[in-house]
């Protein structure tokens, strides 16, 4: 079993888990999972069934971008097009 990291440690680390990303951004787990599955939220995974790790700064920046696009009234298809069209991943 492992121990939960403190907020200070999470904020200082380069890679964070989806739970930690949810904790520091306040985004719902289901939303983050949906974004990762749609391919618009970048993550790293060594092998299949291993923990998804998110680059903290990159993930937070991407969430802010998605939020801004949603605020402009863009649909999920348009947002996906926006990021994938920009040679994302």
């Amino acid at each position: 079993m492992s121990r939960q990291r403190s907020l200070e440690k999470i904020l200082a680390s380069q890679y964070i888990s989806i739970g930690e990303l949810s904790r520091i951004t306040g985004y719902r787990y289901s939303t983050l999972k949906f974004y990762t599955e749609e391919g618009i939220l970048p993550f790293e995974q060594a092998e299949e069934n291993l923990t998804r790790r998110f680059l903290q700064t990159q993930a937070i920046q991407r969430l802010e971008e998605i939020q801004a696009l949603r605020g402009k009234g863009k649909t999920m298809a348009e947002i996906k097009q926006h990021f994938l069209g920009n040679n994302f991943q």
Partner: protein
């Protein structure tokens, strides 16, 4: 976002929407688990240490920075070397007086960081409660904090990863207090139980923890019954039945008396708004007329003219949740 201890994290979920002034059955179940959370917190802090096998003992210099721990630790530190389940059960068995002190201390520690507030309950505006000067207030966890805690918990347990000790402790506490359904959907609950079932065979801590039962069957049955009753009266059919038979669920059928008999729509509305403002509720009028539409604390109600019988009938309005 603040770093909360296990007891605080659990309490932010379990105390949300609970009556803050009276020791209800649901709150008693929640507080018994909060007392057990103090013991688990000692385990996570390393002050409750494993001796051999599943026998644990409290460190001689056991100390917790939080005041709430002082209401529970004296009841368990003197037990010597015991299995973890014995410590948990001893903590959960503390007196009602100590439970109230524990609640006050936990609530104070959370109110200090604006994570928990006390808000007036709409029932306090009801004619019968108001005239008897019965004050009803409830706890409300700050929305973003509640979301961050519950979503992090959901992510940790539903993701394909080994959950942390804190997550497992929190999950067990929610299970024992009958609050799991507040956080997980039925489908998710099946996944959670599957995962716990797998961990039972691989992690001895999980086996010890989930093998311990704190809940009182009757308390959880009462809690589940009251919850299902409240859920039923929120359905369109239930709302109608509850309007005809307010005794079914009083909290969803609040009667506010008006100053005069045969009052007109405008005067009735003024009386209602005055009562709501007096009890500290935020209210806006969405529609005026004979049956006005009011938005009270972000929930929309119809204020239907009504009366309650007795030696002398009392005129007023009954609030009925507006189907959106």
């Amino acid at each position: 976002m603040t770093d909360f201890t296990l007891t605080q994290t659990y309490s932010l979920i379990a105390l949300n929407a609970q009556d803050s002034l009276n020791l209800t059955t649901a709150k008693k179940a929640a507080l018994r688990c909060a007392a057990a959370a103090v013991v688990l917190e000692s385990y996570l802090n390393g002050t409750l240490v494993a001796q051999k096998g599943d026998i644990f003992t409290f460190d001689a210099c056991t100390k917790n920075d939080f005041l709430y721990a002082e209401t529970v630790l004296p009841a368990v530190t003197g037990l010597g070397s015991q299995p973890l389940s014995r410590f948990l059960k001893a903590a959960a068995a503390i007196s009602a007086k100590r439970l109230k002190a524990l609640e006050r201390n936990i609530a104070d520690s959370l109110k200090g960081v604006d994570a928990l507030t006390e808000i007036p309950n709409l029932m306090g505006c009801d004619y019968f409660y108001c005239s008897a000067q019965v004050n009803i207030r409830e706890y409300r966890t700050q929305e973003t904090t509640y979301l961050a805690i519950t979503e992090a918990l959901r992510a940790d347990i539903l993701e394909d990863v080994i959950p942390t000790d804190e997550t497992l402790c929190l999950l067990w506490l929610l299970k024992e207090s009958g609050s799991l359904a507040d956080v997980f959907s039925q489908t998710e609950l099946d996944l959670v139980m599957q995962k716990i079932g797998t961990l039972l065979h691989t992690a001895p801590f999980v086996k010890t923890l989930f093998g311990t039962q704190l809940h009182h069957g009757l308390q959880l049955t009462v809690k589940a019954f009251l919850k299902s009753k409240k859920a039923f009266v929120k359905t369109p059919l239930g709302t109608g039945i509850n309007y005809a038979l307010p005794i079914l669920e009083r909290s969803q059928s609040v009667f506010i008396d008006t100053e005069a008999y045969f009052s007109n729509g405008e005067k009735r509305l003024n009386d209602v708004l005055e009562r709501l403002a007096l009890q500290g509720h935020s209210c806006s009028v969405l529609r005026t007329g004979e049956v006005p539409l009011l938005k009270i604390d972000n929930i929309v109600y119809e204020a239907i003219p009504d009366y309650v019988g007795g030696k002398m009938p009392v005129h007023g309005v009954r609030l009925r949740k507006y189907p959106l």
